[in-house]
């Protein structure tokens, strides 16, 4: 299919699935087509040229508003493009639009948006959570409104919505993709992620974005990247090839609240990989059980700091009338009105855990837990963490190349159930994604079909594919390995259980066409 035809099809889907509320703003359709046509005529096209890529609304764009789905930034247009946006444009890609999200990335169901929830609705009457916070990006890919999408992942915000909507969501190692122009939620955790319907597409985008950016002070330097690529401990493992990998099963992730259907899909995925000659090994990550609590101390703490800049003084919206006392020019009212309930909650949480009375018991403890989580991973991975100084260890029998575990404890919940959920239960959704975020590791969520017995007969009859997200986690810098295992898993799953055609919603099975 030519690029023009593809773009037309995607633009059609944008209209068809507008009710999913995946976008907060869309690029002008005519401009998109003109740019697509121009891209088709360039002499050396690369895999991204002429491709429509959706961008999460917390990533700055000059041409489209950047609101982070917050009232306080409604109508805000950034004076500059984020580095990742510039990189996409330079590669010939077209920004399809800005996608819906939980306000400033805070949420797991994309319900905390000034623009309303982005919902997964594959058929009449279905109102499911698209996951958060990059729910819009995941939905836009899932419903065929774009070729691929950028999201951001702080504690699972790319992987969780990918799992719920049945697409692939990749969070690279921290520091590989530039954050310049990415609105900070918790900058020690924030990572730009990529969502797509195939690992191959994601790989193409990742290659374009995976370069040092001097604008981002946390972007890995070239020499560090080179060092990681030639990690001496990698070459020590002569038997490590994609043909025979040691795959770890973290027992600590087998929690009692894990949905049995998801558990069975996990087993199915492990069996598929085992059938290809990989070996399975139990591993223990004891600090995991504290990871979620640590995350919900650290992320709000950084958020309370990062969001202090939104005062309506230099940009963004301001409350009507006089704010503050007559003698001062403050902005309590502006901030009170501009932020939604969840953002206010996390700012308060963060302000508390950084306060003089609480910092030692909360923030400092959480940082220690974060270090333990990272050590846990370093203990079980066969590759040495290239950012740690300890000498490379030889591979022991217990060590593994990658981990495989579910992305979320459940299938996508209904929006109605989410609405009544108390915040603590909502935070539980992130239990499997947060550890990799704390350790800065590459992780990817791949949709794997449910066991036949677990499928909902109604959906089955309507030819709607039913999947659960499986997460592959690798050592820091092992992004290529994580991607290759994901590609293999997707291939295995598609072989047994194919998705619909190109530019169709991912949930359509081929039978749909008959």
């Amino acid at each position: 299919m030519s690029h023009i035809k593809t773009s037309l099809k995607l633009l059609g889907n944008q209209a068809k699935y507008a009710h999913l509320n995946a976008f907060t703003s869309l690029a002008n359709g005519e401009t998109v087509l003109e740019t697509t046509a121009a891209a088709a005529s360039i002499p050396n096209p690369n895999p991204l040229s002429g491709r429509l890529i959706a961008v999460k609304d917390n990533i700055c764009t000059k041409d489209l508003r950047t609101t982070a789905a917050s009232r306080i930034l409604k109508g805000f247009t950034s004076p500059y493009d984020a580095t990742v946006v510039r990189q996409l444009k330079d590669a010939g890609a077209i920004v399809a639009g800005k996608t819906n999200m939980d306000e400033f990335g805070m949420g797991s169901h994309n319900t905390h948006s000034y623009f309303g929830a982005a919902e997964l609705s594959r058929r009449e009457g279905e109102h499911l959570s698209s996951g958060g916070s990059s729910g819009g990006s995941a939905l836009a890919v899932a419903s065929g409104q774009c070729w691929a999408a950028l999201g951001t992942d702080t504690g699972g915000s790319v992987r969780l919505p990918a799992a719920y909507t049945g697409v692939i969501g990749f969070k690279p190692s921290y520091g590989l993709l530039s954050r310049w122009g990415v609105i900070a939620y918790a900058n020690s955790l924030d990572t730009v992620g990529i969502l797509g319907s195939s690992v191959n597409d994601i790989q193409h985008i990742f290659e374009k974005l995976n370069v040092h950016d001097p604008q981002d002070p946390t972007s890995l330097l070239r020499r560090t990247r080179t060092r990681i690529d030639s990690n001496p401990s990698k070459s020590l493992q002569s038997d490590r090839s994609t043909e025979r990998l040691r795959i770890g099963i973290p027992l600590d992730y087998n929690i009692s609240t894990l949905d049995p259907m998801v558990r069975r899909t996990w087993t199915r995925a492990l069996r598929m990989l085992e059938s290809r000659g990989h070996t399975l090994h139990q591993v223990s990550l004891p600090a995991t059980r504290h990871a979620l609590s640590a995350y919900y101390i650290l992320a709000p703490a950084e958020a309370s700091s990062n969001l202090a800049k939104y005062d309506g003084v230099r940009y963004g919206s301001r409350a009507e009338g006089i704010d503050g006392t007559p003698e001062s020019v403050l902005f309590a009212k502006t901030r009170g009105q501009g932020f939604g309930a969840e953002v206010r909650r996390r700012i308060l949480l963060g302000a508390f855990s950084l306060s003089a009375q609480a910092i030692d018991n909360y923030f400092i403890q959480a940082q220690k837990v974060r270090r333990l989580v990272q050590q846990d991973f370093d203990d079980i991975f066969s590759t040495q963490n290239p950012l740690q100084d300890s000498p490379p260890e030889l591979k022991s029998e217990e060590k593994v190349d990658v981990l495989l575990c579910p992305t979320a404890p459940t299938l996508p919940p209904t929006l109605a159930s989410v609405k009544d959920q108390d915040p603590l239960n909502a935070y539980m959704n992130d239990v499997f994604t947060v550890p990799a975020s704390l350790a800065g590791l590459p992780a990817i969520s791949v949709p794997v079909g449910l066991e036949l017995d677990d499928r909902d007969p109604e959906l089955f009859n309507e030819n709607i594919k039913q999947t659960a997200g499986m997460q592959i986690i690798g050592q820091y810098g092992d992004d290529p390995l994580v991607l290759s295992v994901a590609a293999e898993l997707q291939q295995l799953d598609q072989g047994l259980d194919p998705s619909g055609g190109e530019n169709e919603p991912v949930w359509r099975t081929p039978r749909d066409k008959e």
């Binding site: 310049w180 002070p217 946390t218 309370s304 700091s305 950084l354």
Partner: protein
């Protein structure tokens, strides 16, 4: 006097003086009156040297020193009580004051701390603002590594230990001049610690240290941080924000609470200001807003057990409850605010009250400090390491290099000038040289001396005492000419003064000629000193023996009475009169007194040895 009321009238009306206005005021006198230059000179001195505007700064510094020495003498002989203020304030015998100071100084850097925007002072508002400076969404800090250099120089000049690793933290508070909602500073790991500043008697305006000898004050730490935006209030309700100043690099210098006297606190601030300028860490002084101080003040009863008063600050224990006075913009404000706050606290304690830990403010000219906020209103800054800024690692080679290229500290300079054989100045002259004109006078002196040294390399016998002679010429002769004018090294360039002194030391000209030459150069004679000497035939060209005899004989014949006095009445001293006449009659510099005396004595047949 005319000058002081004028200045006093200006001061309260202009709490902030921008440096360019200051320049204009200094160099483009608007009124052409004979008093203008006096006004300018006074202001200038108040700004740059011992500027306590209320003290008698019209007196030249040397006179102040002299008076101080006299007073010291009197004190030693028991004429006066140890300290006047203590005598009039018996309460101070009972209560001891303790003060710690935090000084914020703008670093002399080309760029801001976390963006490549230029640092500026007087450019059009909001013309130097990077995305990060205005806290735009998605922007990130770019630490400008070269801002470290002046910071390191400052810390080294304050005898600090440079930390191999330091890091940046966010200090949170909301204010419209703080775009990010936090200030980036160094709370947990400052870049320099454990410094020290020593106040010598010459660091006090009257040359007297309140404790007699030198006073050492420990510096807890020096940290780098961002400045805030400038708010310009336009009544009734408009606040204009200028973000040019946002993120201008500052250093904050924190002393331990070891100061027990308001004048010591003032001297400490003044000296830190001078040190920062002398190592080129900062350009602007307090007067132009480039330096601000916060002081914390407490009092405690002397001679009580430490256990009874239990406050401890920075490891200094047994202190009274302290209050903090913020944002003092001049040395005088520091001193006055401390005195007012000390007296307020003593009043409360003597009437049985309790001091509250609170933040207070001070406005120039007021009688007391004003409460800004109490403990309950205290801001919890919620310090958090900035996750976007990597730790700063400073190589010890860099520190060693900066240390070796650091300018002389005032104390080291005085030591160099007074100790050893080279310069051999009196400590009075040395401290005068160092304190004048922001060190420019000392630089001038060293230039002249060095040039002189080069010229007279081959004649070491002429160089004996050259340091002292140069000192006299720079301070006394040139000082007298500059009495009512602003110092400028270009008026008589160092090589010209060196040439004058060199001719003098080689006895090529007389002292009178030398003074005349200096005065000619000062008045703008553009010719070289050597050229003037040739043109005006000023060189000391001794008369021939015949010419001496001829001149002497003529004078002897013209003045028979005086000859009679000498020969008959043996009034040998009158020979000197003839010598004077001979010098006067001959062309400038032609007659050498000793040669003239010899000729007279010979002609009159005086017995040898009678003239001495």
């Amino acid at each position: 006097m005319f000058v002081r009321p004028t200045l006093a009238a200006l001061a309260p009306a202009r709490p902030y003086i921008c440096p360019s206005c200051l320049h204009r005021a200094t160099f483009q006198p608007l009124i052409s009156s004979p008093y203008t230059s006096a006004l300018v000179a006074t202001r200038r001195r108040a700004l740059h040297t011992v500027g306590n505007p209320s003290t008698d700064h019209d007196a030249p510094f040397r006179k102040t020193l002299k008076d101080a020495a006299k007073q010291r003498k009197r004190e030693r002989s028991g004429d006066s009580v140890h300290q006047a203020s203590k005598a009039s304030e018996p309460r101070l015998q009972k209560w001891e004051l303790t003060v710690g100071i935090e000084i914020h100084a703008e670093l002399n850097t080309a760029r801001k701390l976390f963006s490549s925007a230029a640092s500026s002072t007087n450019d059009a508002p909001n013309t130097h603002v990077a995305l990060f400076d205005a806290a735009f969404p998605g922007s990130q800090p770019h630490f400008q590594i070269e801002t470290l250099i002046p910071a390191l120089r400052a810390a080294l000049a304050l005898d600090c230990e440079i930390q191999p690793k330091s890091s940046f933290d966010r200090k949170h508070y909301f204010y419209q001049d703080q775009p990010a909602g936090y200030q980036i500073t160094q709370y947990y790991e400052p870049f320099a610690r454990d410094g020290r500043i020593t106040l010598h008697p010459h660091d006090f305006p009257n040359g007297i240290s309140p404790q007699g000898g030198p006073i050492a004050i420990d510096i807890k730490q020096v940290q780098m941080e961002q400045d805030t935006a400038k708010t310009v209030h336009q009544p009734p309700a408009t606040h204009l924000l200028d973000f040019n100043r946002v993120s201008h690099p500052l250093i904050e210098i924190i002393t331990l609470p070891q100061i027990h006297d308001p004048t010591t606190a003032a001297a400490c601030v003044r000296k830190i200001q001078r040190i920062l300028r002398s190592v080129d860490a900062c350009t602007a002084g307090m007067e132009s807003g480039g330096l601000r101080a916060d002081v914390n003040v407490s009092v405690r009863e002397r001679h009580t057990q430490a256990a009874q008063v239990g406050n401890s600050y920075h490891g200094v224990t047994g202190l009274g409850q302290r209050t903090e006075i913020k944002n003092l913009a001049s040395v005088k404000a520091v001193e006055d605010a401390i005195i007012a706050e000390r007296d307020r606290q003593i009043d409360i304690l003597e009437s049985g009250g309790v001091i509250e830990g609170e933040t207070r403010g001070w406005t120039l000219g007021s009688k007391s400090t004003k409460r800004l906020r109490g403990k309950e209103g205290e801001i919890d800054y919620r310090y958090m390491p900035d996750p976007d800024i990597a730790p700063v690692l400073v190589d010890k080679d860099l520190v060693a290099h900066l240390q070796s290229t650091l300018y002389l500290s005032t104390d080291d300079a005085i030591k160099m000038l007074t100790e050893g054989e080279e310069y051999n100045l009196t400590s009075k002259d040395a401290s005068t040289l160092v304190s004048l004109d922001d060190g420019a006078r000392l630089e001038y002196y060293l230039d002249v001396y060095q040039l002189l040294h080069l010229t007279l390399r081959s004649r070491p016998e002429c160089l004996r005492g050259a340091g002292k002679v140069t000192g006299n010429w720079v301070l006394m002769e040139l000082g007298a000419l500059f009495k009512n004018e602003i110092w400028s090294a270009d008026r008589v360039p160092p090589n010209q003064l060196a040439s004058i002194i060199s001719h003098l030391l080689q006895k090529k000209i007389t002292g009178r000629t030398a003074k005349l030459l200096l005065s000619l150069k000062f008045q703008g004679d553009s010719r070289d000193v050597a050229q003037i000497i040739v043109d005006e035939e000023m060189a000391l060209q001794p008369l021939s023996q015949e010419e001496y005899i001829e001149l002497a004989q003529r004078l002897l014949v013209e003045n028979p009475n005086i000859v009679k006095d000498i020969v008959e009445k043996k009034q040998y001293k009158k020979v000197k009169w003839f010598v004077g006449q001979m010098i006067g009659k001959a062309a400038e510099g032609k007659v050498e007194p000793i040669a003239a005396e010899t000729v007279i004595a010979e002609l009159l047949n005086l017995p040898p040895g009678k003239l001495k």
